[in-house]
Amino acid sequence: MSAKPSVLSVRHVSKTYRLTAGMMAPVRQINAVNDVSLDLREGEVLGLIGESGCGKSTLSRLLLGLEAPSAGDVFLNGRPISSLSRKEIARVLQPVFQDPYSSLNPRETVEQAVSRPLQVHGIGDRAAIRRKVAETIDAVGLPRRALASYPSQLSGGQRQRVAIARALILEPRILICDEPTSALDVSVQAQILNLLSELRRSANISLILISHNLQVVQFLADRVAVMYVGKIIEEGPAAQILRAPAQAYTRRLLASALDIAPGKGIPLLDNEVAAVA
């Protein structure tokens, strides 16, 4: 395992936001990410779990180079991400965001949205772009007829598949998926999970998977990191963390996963008290 090179690494990164509640109110600071160090190895799936507001999405924005850390460094293939251009990063590293509503331009058809990255990077002639777009649309399980649709004409789950197709079209080496299937029904979720798993096997893609669905993490992840108020509190092989977590917090998190249980209602979760804010 340790022989594989690290494709994305963070060293002691922190991100602090300043909050001003009003003109007269004192400035408060939020340590959204607090001294995190992590390595993503080639061909590996790293699951990142933790409750709402613990800093997962903030960390993913730092990893994508979309925001600069307040302290610490992010390295992409050994080079500081701050020294790379937008385009250089996009060729190897692509995000898939949770929200399929705001991540698509309402004025672009699916075909335009999915082919745009190829045009921006000047890859392929017209025919090659068409072919590649069609292949990618097939791969995410969208019917070809969806190509002519605008986002408003698609259902929520269909839009998320468009977002995934757009991330895959440049054949990136690393995907950072923030809740990639939480808007999808189970049959589409299964297709997307198989697709991600297949990409890893056939193209040796590395993946950071942020998900609150522990079954999804369990299916895909080799390693799991547990985040709690901005810090990684536990990290290790997925089987070990998900079956025998060392931290009480992780145990509570695992207990909150819902399974099929007719008539059982929604149980009161231990960690809910902390979440009411």
Binding site: S52, S149, S152, G157, L268
Partner: protein, 334 residues
């Protein structure tokens, strides 16, 4: 409460043979194709089904909130015995926000960013209860309390962006409750929220439903959630209802091959760490442009046979129903 509302057997909502057609570049999308179901007082019905199968369009059609250019047709849509299919938009706008509460996936679209929480809650009440305007403020505080929002009085003067996603969705629920609705239609109300918040919001909805005897139509793609909160499950596929059953019976033995396929897709249904791919339902939903003849699932169905090429009616299986040529034959064998 009127005499008709009191009647036990009369459903709160009855939908019969509802169709929705939408214009699209490539032709007319027949998104909802003859949907029928009932919803009773105090009951939770969950609608599940593949993305794009027409769940949201069905909800929008009932509420008369379809996108521009869409056409709705139905044998009947009645709410508390009243014909709302032919009632017209003026009557519907009286019912929406009053007797019918609505909760959508993204709370931000339901809230006006430039008005305070208090203004929005009070506005709903004043519009529907013009002769009780003076009570609006107290009612708003009361509803915020009911949905578990701390410091409700202070919240009245806050704007939506000053609240977290979970709190915003609570405000939307409070708004849906302002006029004591008889029915709530909730379309993926917790999809955009984290698990912990999701659990709170769902528990809140169920609790309110029990306390106020509401009828709840809940659209969700989460089978675990549906199993835990629904009294009945309605499964949609390609714009049609393909199965309907009481929750326990449904999860014990779904009768439609599509519903069985859905259960098989759950990551928990697979052997852990086996490395094997998840079971999927091969193929994609058929185009909803133009008419579909025969069973809409047959291209993907492992049990398809020549008879499936003819139209398949929803079969009554005694307290449940399924739209499949094999439905009902299992018992004969057993």
């Amino acid at each position: 409460m009127t005499a008709t509302e009191m009647s036990e057997s009369q459903p709160v909502l009855a939908v019969r043979d509802m169709h929705v057609r939408l214009p699209h570049r490539a032709g007319i999308v027949h998104a909802v194709r003859g949907v029928s179901f009932d919803l009773h007082r105090g009951e939770t019905v969950c609608v599940v089904g593949e993305s794009g199968c027409g769940k949201s369009m069905s909800a929008m059609a009932i509420l008369n909130l379809l996108p521009r250019g869409a056409r709705r047709e139905a044998g009947a849509i009645s709410f508390l015995g009243e014909d709302v299919l032919n009632a017209g938009e003026r009557r519907m706008s009286e019912l929406r926000g009053d007797r019918i509460g609505m909760i959508f996936q993204e709370p931000l679209t339901a809230l006006n960013p430039s008005l305070t929480i208090g203004e929005q809650l009070m506005e709903v009440f004043r519009r529907h209860r013009p002769n009780r305007k003076g009570e609006a403020r107290e009612r708003a505080v009361d509803m915020l309390t009911q949905v578990g929002i701390p410091d409700p009085r202070e919240r009245l003067s806050q704007y939506p962006h000053q609240l977290s996603g979970g709190l915003r969705q609570r405000v939307v629920i409070a708004m849906a409750l302002m006029c004591e609705p008889t029915m709530i239609i909730a379309d993926e109300p917790t999809t955009a929220l984290d698990v912990t918040i999701q659990a709170q919001i769902l528990r809140l909805l169920i609790d309110l439903k029990d306390r106020f005897g509401l009828a709840l139509l809940l659209i969700t793609h989460d089978l675990a959630v549906a199993s835990r909160v629904a009294d009945r499950i309605v499964v949609m596929y390609a714009g049609e209802v393909v199965e309907e059953a009481e929750t326990a019976a449904f999860f014990a033995a779904p009768r439609h091959p599509y519903a069985r396929g859905l259960m098989g897709c759950l990551p928990s249904a697979q052997a852990h760490g086996s490395g094997a791919p998840l079971q999927i339902i091969p193929g994609t939903v058929p185009s909803l442009i133009g008419e579909i003849s025969g069973c809409a699932f047959r291209e993907r169905c492992p049990e398809a046979e020549p008879a499936c090429r003819s139209d398949v009616a929803l079969r009554d299986l005694g307290g449940r129903s399924a739209r499949c040529v094999h439905a009902g034959l299992e018992e004969a064998v057993a």
